[in-house]
């Protein structure tokens, strides 16, 4: 059988089937216009560029614009009716300045990670819903204070540094006042001075017993000077800012800012309590009953003028006095020892005739650190359903962005390889 025979047979079979060997074929079927092949590479390039831009932006996050004008000082402040829990997602004050801060609340544990992080301090904005973390130095912080206007936070560290963060701009300034650990004790009413102590290693706050002299830091000049007469705890500036009270042994002493003793008031069974002990009218000093025994059961008041009659005081499980709303009312952070009621910020009449809950801390582990004294007279309570923790903190955002960038790069490489392989196969086919 020759090739010609086979060819003739094949041709004849096709002819018999009605298949013309040539001539005009039927009109071809066509698909819609050919897809634009450049679209995919351009889209991929745009995606990669976007990811790179995100990574660059994440790298430059610390340089974000913080020069925005600070919000005008607020003469009104709000406290949340119920405090929000601590959160790992809370942005820091430096990352996202909250503006004036009304309160600092410390938590010993964070969700999930617990003590591993050394806890968290949250700054609550004057709007009552903004929460920011102040825990950048969580493992080395000794104690923290809030400026009277809520515009700055000072943190003492075990490295002998007082670090002041502006809550309006997020900028910080460090003052080396060591050696050794230091703990801020009180802000002057105008926010210019910070009284602090050099404390023994291992302590976490001002020392109440023993000869530990206080010192004064001028935040404008950075200079420090000793307050030789103040060697105890419970430092409190007078409303005029020119005097300071301190618990020294079984007496409360009043000094000028050079350390000269102006008055001495023996006390028993009570001790000067915190930086807000002095009443706004300058007539009384708040004393925590049982503080020397480590078990505060209430407050009584010391009249600086012997002819003056002090208020009766009140009973409360109050480890700390937060400040005065007026001459007749104070805010304390009360702890219900029976555990029947949540810890709470409570406004007490100084004569014990009334007690009103300002904010509840249902999470229990919170401890009030400080409140902005100037904002208390304008304090109101607001209900907050959605607390604002701000943008994700840098430490959380950066790894995510970097991971996304790497993922995009790997995906691009894989897609390119697959496309190249397919193209090769197609070329081989043709």
């Amino acid at each position: 059988m020759s090739a010609e025979t086979i060819r003739a047979a094949l041709s004849a079979a096709c002819d018999d089937a009605g298949l013309p060997a040539d001539g005009a074929p039927p009109p071809p079927l066509r698909t819609p216009p050919v897809r634009r092949r450049w679209l995919a590479p351009v889209a991929a390039a745009a995606a990669v560029a976007l990811v790179v831009a995100l990574v660059v932006a994440a790298t430059l996050l610390p340089h974000r614009d913080r020069s925005a004008p600070p919000a005008a000082p607020r003469r009104s402040a709000a406290m949340p009716a119920t405090f929000a829990p601590p959160s790992l997602s809370a942005a820091s004050v430096e990352q996202s300045p909250p503006g004036p801060v009304v309160a600092l609340v410390g938590y010993a544990d964070l969700p999930v990670v617990g003590d591993l992080t050394g806890g968290q301090t949250l700054a609550v904005g004057a709007d009552g819903r903004t929460y920011r973390s102040v825990d950048a130095w969580s493992t080395s912080i000794t104690s923290q204070l809030l400026a009277p206007d809520g515009g700055s936070i000072v943190s003492g560290t075990s490295q002998g540094i007082l670090r002041v963060v502006d809550t309006r701009t997020g900028t910080d300034h460090e003052y080396e006042v060591g050696p050794g650990a230091v703990a801020p004790a009180a802000f002057s009413p105008d926010g210019r001075y910070v009284a602090y102590q050099r404390i023994p290693s291992g302590e976490v706050g001002p020392v109440c017993d023993g000869p530990v002299p206080a010192r004064l830091l001028d935040l404008r000049t950075g200079r420090t000077r000793p307050l030789t007469g103040a060697s105890g705890c419970g430092l409190a500036f007078a409303p005029d800012g020119r005097r300071i009270a301190a618990q020294v042994g079984n007496a409360v002493v009043v000094l000028d800012l050079h350390g000269h003793q102006l008055a001495r008031h023996p006390v028993s069974g009570a001790a000067l309590n915190g930086p807000h002990a002095w009443s706004p009218d300058g007539r009384y000093l708040a004393l925590a009953v049982g503080a020397l025994d480590g078990d505060v059961t209430g407050f009584r008041f010391l009249a600086l003028d012997a002819t003056d009659r002090p208020p009766a005081g009140f009973r409360a499980g109050s480890p700390a006095l937060m400040g005065w709303t007026d001459d007749r009312h104070v805010v304390t952070y009360d702890v219900d020892r029976a555990g029947a009621a949540p810890d709470a910020f409570v406004a007490h009449a100084v004569d014990g005739t009334s007690a009103t809950v300002v904010s509840a801390d249902e999470y229990g582990s919170g401890t009030a650190v400080d409140m902005a004294a100037d904002l208390l007279p304008h304090l109101r309570t607001v209900r907050v359903d959605h607390p604002g923790y701000g943008p994700w903190p840098d430490w959380a955002v950066r790894p995510v962005l970097v991971a996304l960038a790497l993922l995009a790069i790997v995906a691009a490489v894989v897609v390119t390889a697959v496309r190249r392989t397919r193209r090769r196969r197609r070329d081989t086919t043709t």
């Binding site: 086979i6 047979a9 094949l10 079979a13 018999d16 298949l19 071809p28 079927l29 698909t31």
Partner: protein, 172 residues
Amino acid sequence: MRAVVRHTGVTVRSGSVADTPQRHFDDVYAGQYAVLVRLAYTTTGSVAAAEDVVQDAFLELYRRWTHVAEPAAWLRRAVVSRCTSWVRRRRLERRHGQPRDPGTHPPTAPETVAVRAALARLRPRHRAVVFLRYYLDLPEAEIAAALGCRPGTVKSMLHRARTILREYVDEC
């Protein structure tokens, strides 16, 4: 007789062919359509299936037009591949009792009976090899490219096809 081509979502475009790539495609279509239908018919034994397969191959070529360097070679391989698949499906349909497609019955010519009967005994790929070799007169390398195999395989398949054809024709 022209088969109805079933392609969901495919539209028929009868617009301008002024642009060069389109004109080139039309040239390829005009030059290759008939011979590819004959190749497909030889492989499948069905005119309708052959026309379907070829139209389908051209549609695919149209989509890939900018990436295909040798349209004629690409089309041959696409047609042979589709024909092989069509025959395989056809066998499965018969095996599972599907009603047999009556297909097209071309008029029977005495001189083609023996060859057509012999071709029917070949496997589809063997029929394609025979057509490519003896009808299109392609070299073994191009046949191998159309079938996606090595030239040695083409030689083997041609030898076997010729043997079967010779035996059958001799019997007749």
